[in-house]
């Protein structure tokens, strides 16, 4: 079986992780490709996977009946998206559509959470990174909300 550890190690979200932990994460990881226009996931679906984008461009969008899809954020190589640490399966709030040919590593959330529960050191490392991701995400969102370019 092809090992994904080098690919995992190269992604900024997992940067600095001990090779032991990378191996464990590798057990939940699989590679996924999306052609331009293909959806990684859609709103209302269960968020069973956590995506690390390796290449390409993905648009997070919300569909509005009046205006069609509204893109709220772009993800590129090095970005990550997903919901972790919810007590029961969580759902996506938006769609993710590949704008161009995109490659990602998908982590199975259930499997990842089980392994984090078993190995708290791994859990702590993942939690740190996840918290940072949410913080950065939050900053983007509040700046968008404030509508700084408005009149």
């Amino acid at each position: 079986m092809e090992t994904l550890e080098p690919v995992l190690a190269a992604h900024p979200f997992l940067q600095g992780l001990d090779p032991r932990h990378l191996k464990v994460i590798g057990e939940c990881a699989s590679r996924v490709d999306f052609k331009a226009g293909q959806f990684l996931f859609r709103g209302q679906e269960e968020a069973t996977q956590f995506f690390l984008i390796n290449q390409g461009q993905v648009a997070l969008e919300i569909f509005s009946a009046r205006r069609g899809p509204i893109i709220i954020q772009s993800l590129r190589e090095g970005d990550a998206v997903g919901w972790l640490w919810f007590p029961k399966p969580y759902h996506w709030h938006y769609d993710a559509r590949a704008i161009s040919l995109s490659r990602a590593t998908a982590l199975d959330v259930k499997g990842l959470m089980q392994r984090c529960e078993q190995d708290h050191l791994l859990g702590y490392e993942m939690m740190k990174r996840y918290a940072h991701l949410l913080a950065v995400q939050f900053r983007v969102t509040i700046l968008q909300l404030v509508d700084i370019y408005g009149k």
């Binding site: 648009a59 205006r67 161009s100 700046l143 700084i148 370019y149 009149k151």
Partner: protein, 306 residues
């Protein structure tokens, strides 16, 4: 005649009256009346940039002298009988034969300017203000970071830098706008992106589904730019919130405060440092700015309601 000395008299800078015979006048460098009198300029061309933003190309009604300015400076533009507003000069400083201004219709005067047509005349006073320190940029990486209409006062700096490209290290532009329809200078941005020696990152706050570019905010694009923080000059102009977050991100990445420059905005009436309206703490934005190094500006920038 004696008088008990008071503490104020001992201090440096204590009141020192001047002799009135005649008053000892210094700095009489400028001809007296002209900075207050608008020069007539004719509209040569008018381009619509967005729903409420237009770029006007102007030429003097009389004479062929061209309009010399430094990137970052502004003019006071006067519409006959309506009023006058400060507008950044957004043309090429190496091509002074055309005077270019990009104006957004947000009030009575700017709306009137946006309504002018080819052949109409408006009044121009200037140039005023401190420029972008492009003369200090050779040898450094330069980040040009613009938000919304903030690209207008930065465009002359970009022209200047591109015309002397070999003098700088990395040269990158980060530009954020509300939506793709609110972007200015779209064709120029596309041309710039085509260059091999100039990286252009564009982002919008939101877009409709057919947008193929980036959606997100300017501070988050800084991580994608390439620069050596110790040798980088950043030139920033945009809404106050955007500048604040951008500066914070640049500082987090190791840029020095004295190498970060902001262009500030305040209510202006005279452009000459005489009417008092544009004060920001001790600074008159029209003559001590609008371009400020962040180390000088920082305390006042972070304070509210000054």
């Amino acid at each position: 005649m004696e008088q008990a000395p008071s503490p104020a008299q001992e201090q440096p800078g204590a009141a020192v009256p001047h002799l009135p015979e005649p008053p000892r006048l210094t700095n009489m460098l400028n001809p007296l009346a002209e900075p207050m009198l608008p020069e007539p300029y004719r509209v040569l061309k008018r381009i619509r940039e967005t729903g409420d933003t237009f770029t006007l190309t102007l030429a003097p009604v009389q004479g062929e002298q061209g309009f010399h300015f430094a990137p970052g400076q502004f003019n006071m533009l006067y519409v006959f009988g309506v009023g006058e507003v400060p507008i950044s000069i957004s043309g090429d400083p190496d091509r002074p034969e055309k005077l270019v201004h990009t104006v957004r219709a947000v009030g009575a005067v700017s709306r009137a300017i946006c309504g002018l047509e080819k052949g109409d005349v408006l009044g121009v006073r200037g140039p005023f203000g401190t420029p972008w320190p492009v003369a200090k940029a050779p040898g450094q990486d330069v980040l040009v970071i613009a938000g919304g209409l903030g690209l207008a006062p930065l465009r002359p700096a970009v022209y200047h830098l591109l015309a002397r490209r070999a003098e700088y290290g990395n040269l990158e532009l980060i530009y954020g706008a509300r939506t793709p329809e609110d972007m200015v200078y779209r064709r120029e941005l596309e041309r710039w992106r085509g260059r091999f020696d100039f990286r252009v990152h564009v982002t919008v706050d939101t877009a409709l589904g057919d947008w193929l570019g980036n959606v997100g905010v300017v501070p988050n694009l800084i991580s994608r730019a390439r620069f050596d923080p110790v040798q980088t000059m950043a030139l920033i102009c945009g809404p106050g919130v955007m500048m604040r977050f951008t500066v914070q991100e640049l500082l987090n990445r190791g840029l020095k405060m004295e190498n970060i420059y902001l262009s500030m905005e305040r209510n202006m009436k005279c452009g000459l440092g005489l009417c008092g309206h544009c004060q920001l703490g001790p600074f008159f934005v029209c003559k001590d700015g609008p371009v400020f190094p962040y180390d000088r500006l920082r305390d006042w920038f972070l304070m509210r309601e000054v």
